[in-house]
C-alpha cells in the first residue's frame, strides 16, 4: 500500500491532509462460512430423477401462465424469471403460422424462422429501449415478461385456426378480428402491468408504444393467416 501511495503522490499531492474521521467505527466479523453443506444443497438437484426436474420446471411455467392470464401486480414473473415459457410459446406460434414452400402457393406466408426472429429480436429491441429510457428491470427479466405475454396471442391463433376450419367468409373474418383484437390488447395490458412499474412515472407512454407495436405486428400476422387450399 505504501508503494502505491508513493507512486501516486505527484497526482494526489494536495490531498495528503485528508483523513477519515475517527467517529466512524469500522468493525465487523469477516468469516467465510465453510461451504461443504451449502455445496451439497446446491448440487442435490443433480441426483433427483429427470421426471422431478421436468415436472418442477413445468409447474413453474404453468404458474407463470396463470399470472399472465390474470395480470395482478405480483412480482412472481420478475423474481424467478425463466425463458422456457417464452420458448414454448414462440415455437408453438411459429409452427402454427408457418407456410409451405413458396412454390406451392401464392400467399407467401411467414416462414418459421421469420416468426421466430421477429419475436426474439422484437423483444430484444423493446428491452434495450426500456433500459435506455431509464428502466430498472434487467435484460432477461424483460425478455421473460414479453415472452410470457404472447400467451393470449397464441390462444387466439388456436381459436382462429379452429374458426378457419369452418370456412373463411366474412363472418369468420369478423370473429377472427374480434378475437385477435381482444387478445392483442390483453397482451399489451398484461405486459405493461409488469414492465411499466420499472419506469419513471412520466415516461410510461414511451415504453408502452413499442410494446403495442410489437404485439400489433404479431396480431396482424395471426389475423392475415390463411390456411393452404
Amino acid at each position: 500500500m505504501a508503494e502505491v501511495e508513493e507512486s501516486s503522490k505527484p497526482m494526489f499531492a494536495g490531498l495528503s491532509d485528508i483523513s477519515i474521521s475517527e467517529d466512524i467505527l469500522v468493525e465487523g466479523d469477516i468469516s467465510v462460512p465453510v461451504g461443504s453443506h451449502n455445496a451439497d444443497n446446491d448440487f442435490s438437484t443433480l441426483d433427483e430423477p429427470v421426471k422431478d426436474t421436468i415436472l418442477r420446471d413445468l409447474r413453474a411455467v404453468g404458474q407463470k401462465f396463470v399470472h399472465v392470464m390474470y395480470p395482478k401486480k405480483s412480482s412472481a414473473l420478475l423474481r424467478d424469471w425463466d425463458l422456457w415459457g417464452p420458448l414454448i410459446l414462440c415455437v408453438t406460434l411459429a409452427l402454427m403460422l408457418q407456410g409451405g414452400s413458396v412454390d406451392s402457393e401464392e400467399e407467401g406466408r411467414p416462414q418459421f424462422a421469420e416468426v421466430f426472429v421477429i419475436i426474439w429480436f422484437g423483444s430484444v429491441i423493446i428491452t434495450l429501449n426500456s433500459k435506455l429510457l431509464g428502466g430498472t428491470i434487467s435484460f432477461f427479466q424483460s425478455l421473460c415478461v414479453l415472452g410470457y405475454c404472447i400467451l393470449p396471442l397464441t390462444v387466439a391463433m388456436i381459436v382462429c385456426r379452429i374458426v378457419l376450419v369452418g370456412g373463411s367468409g366474412l363472418v369468420s373474418f369478423v370473429v377472427r378480428l374480434i378475437v385477435v383484437t381482444a387478445s392483442f390488447s390483453w397482451s399489451t395490458f398484461a405486459s405493461t402491468a409488469f414492465l411499466a412499474d420499472s419506469q419513471p412515472p412520466n415516461r410510461k407512454a414511451l415504453v408502452v408504444y413499442p410494446v403495442f407495436l410489437f404485439y400489433f405486428v404479431i396480431g396482424w400476422m395471426i389475423l392475415t393467416f390463411s390456411p393452404s387450399q
Binding site: 500500500m1 508503494e3 502505491v4 413458396v102 401464392e106 407467401g108 411467414p110 416462414q111 421469420e114 426472429v117 421477429i118 429491441i125 434495450l128 429501449n129 433500459k131 435506455l132 429510457l133 431509464g134 412520466n202 415516461r203 407512454a205 414511451l206 408504444y209 413499442p210 407495436l213 400489433f216 405486428v217 396482424w220 392475415t224
Partner: protein, 310 residues
C-alpha cells in the same frame, strides 16, 4: 439536453475512452497490489531450473492480460449501452411536439435553426413505417421470392433512414453545412412522420388522385421543413442548392416509390421480369372472353355474308 446542437459534442469514442481509462486504472492498482506479493515469493526460485517455467508463465500471463485489455476495450467502446443513453432522454410531450413540428416549415433562415439530437422518436417512426409497409405489402398481395416480407420491409426502411442520412451528411460535409450526423439522423427520422401518415391513408383508401394530393401536401411540407433547416445552416447559393435539391428529390421520390412499389398492378410486371419459365399464356388474362366473342361474332358474320353472296 435541449442545448445539444453544437457540432463539437462528445462522440462515442470519447465516452468509450473515458470508461476504458477508468476501468484500467482500477485494474492497474489491483494488479500492482496483487503481483507485489507474488514476486516476493518467486524471486528466490529464479535459477536456471525455474527460469523456463516461471518466465513462460509470466509471458503467458502478459499475453492474456493484453488480450483481455483489448477485448474489454472494444467491448466497452461498442457494446456499452450507456453511450446511447443521452440520446433517449426525452419526455412524451417533447416527442409529440417534435412530431407536429416536423410538418411545419420554419420561416427564419438567416440564423441556424435548432435541431434536437434524439433517437427515440426517429426509431419509433422507422418501426411504425415497417409495420405500415408490411400491411401494404400484404394487402397488395406482393410475393417476394428471394427473401422474406419482413426482411424487405425492415431493409427498406432502415436502409433509407441510415443510408440517406449518411449520404446527406457526406454532402453537407462537402458543402460546409453546420450539421452533425446525429442531427441529420434525427431530422430525417422525424421527416418520416409525413411518409407514415400518407402511406397509412393510401394503403387503405386506393385513390390515385388522393395519393398525389397527399404526396404534394404532406410530403412537400415535411420536405420543406428539412430543407429550410438545412438552408439555415449552409452558406452560399450553390451549396444550398445541391444539398437541398438532393434531399428534396430523395425524400419525395421515396414516398412515390413506396406507394407504387406495393401496388396491385406492379405484381404482374414483377412476375414477367422474373420468371422466364412462366408460360406466356398466363399473362394474357385480360378481357379475353369479350375479345374472343367479338372475334367469333365478326367471323361468323363475315362467313354468313360470304355464304349469302354466293
Amino acid at each position: 439536453m435541449e442545448n445539444m446542437d453544437d457540432t463539437s459534442g462528445s462522440s462515442f469514442e470519447d465516452m468509450g475512452e473515458m470508461h476504458q481509462r477508468m476501468k484500467e486504472e482500477e485494474e492497474v492498482t489491483a494488479e500492482a497490489a496483487a503481483t507485489e506479493e507474488d514476486n516476493g515469493e518467486y524471486g528466490d526460485f529464479l535459477g536456471m531450473k525455474g527460469l523456463k517455467g516461471q518466465l513462460g508463465r509470466q509471458v503467458a500471463d502478459e499475453v492474456w492480460q493484453a488480450g483481455k485489455r483489448q477485448a474489454s476495450k472494444a467491448f466497452n467502446l461498442y457494446a456499452n449501452i450507456d453511450i446511447l443513453r443521452p440520446y433517449f432522454d426525452v419526455e412524451p410531450i417533447q416527442v409529440r411536439n417534435r412530431l407536429i413540428e416536423s410538418l411545419i416549415p420554419v420561416r427564419i433562415i438567416n440564423f441556424p435553426q435548432k435541431v434536437a439530437g434524439e433517437l427515440y422518436g426517429p426509431m419509433m417512426l422507422v418501426f411504425t413505417m415497417v409495420a405500415i409497409l408490411l400491411h401494404g405489402m400484404k394487402t397488395s398481395g406482393t410475393v417476394i421470392r428471394e427473401g422474406t416480407l419482413m426482411g424487405t420491409a425492415i431493409g427498406t426502411c432502415f436502409g433509407y433512414w441510415l443510408g440517406v442520412s449518411s449520404f446527406i451528411y457526406f454532402l453537407s460535409y462537402l458543402c460546409n453545412a453546420q450539421i452533425t450526423m446525429l442531427q441529420m439522423l434525427s431530422l430525417l427520422g422525424y421527416g418520416l412522420f409525413g411518409h407514415c401518415m400518407v402511406l397509412f391513408i393510401t394503403y387503405n383508401v386506393h385513390f390515385h388522385s388522393l395519393f398525389y394530393f397527399l404526396w404534394l401536401v404532406i410530403g412537400g411540407l415535411s420536405t420543406l421543413r428539412m430543407v429550410a433547416v438545412l438552408i439555415s445552416r449552409t452558406v452560399g447559393q450553390t451549396p444550398r442548392l445541391i444539398l437541398c435539391g438532393t434531399l428534396a428529390a430523395l425524400h419525395m421520390l421515396f414516398l412515390l416509390y413506396l406507394h407504387f412499389a406495393y401496388h396491385k398492378m406492379v405484381e404482374g410486371i414483377l412476375d414477367t421480369l422474373e420468371g422466364p419459365n412462366i408460360p406466356p399464356i398466363q399473362r394474357v388474362a385480360r378481357d379475353v372472353p369479350v375479345v374472343a366473342s367479338a372475334v367469333v361474332n365478326a367471323t361468323i358474320k363475315s362467313i354468313a355474308a360470304v355464304v349469302q353472296s354466293q
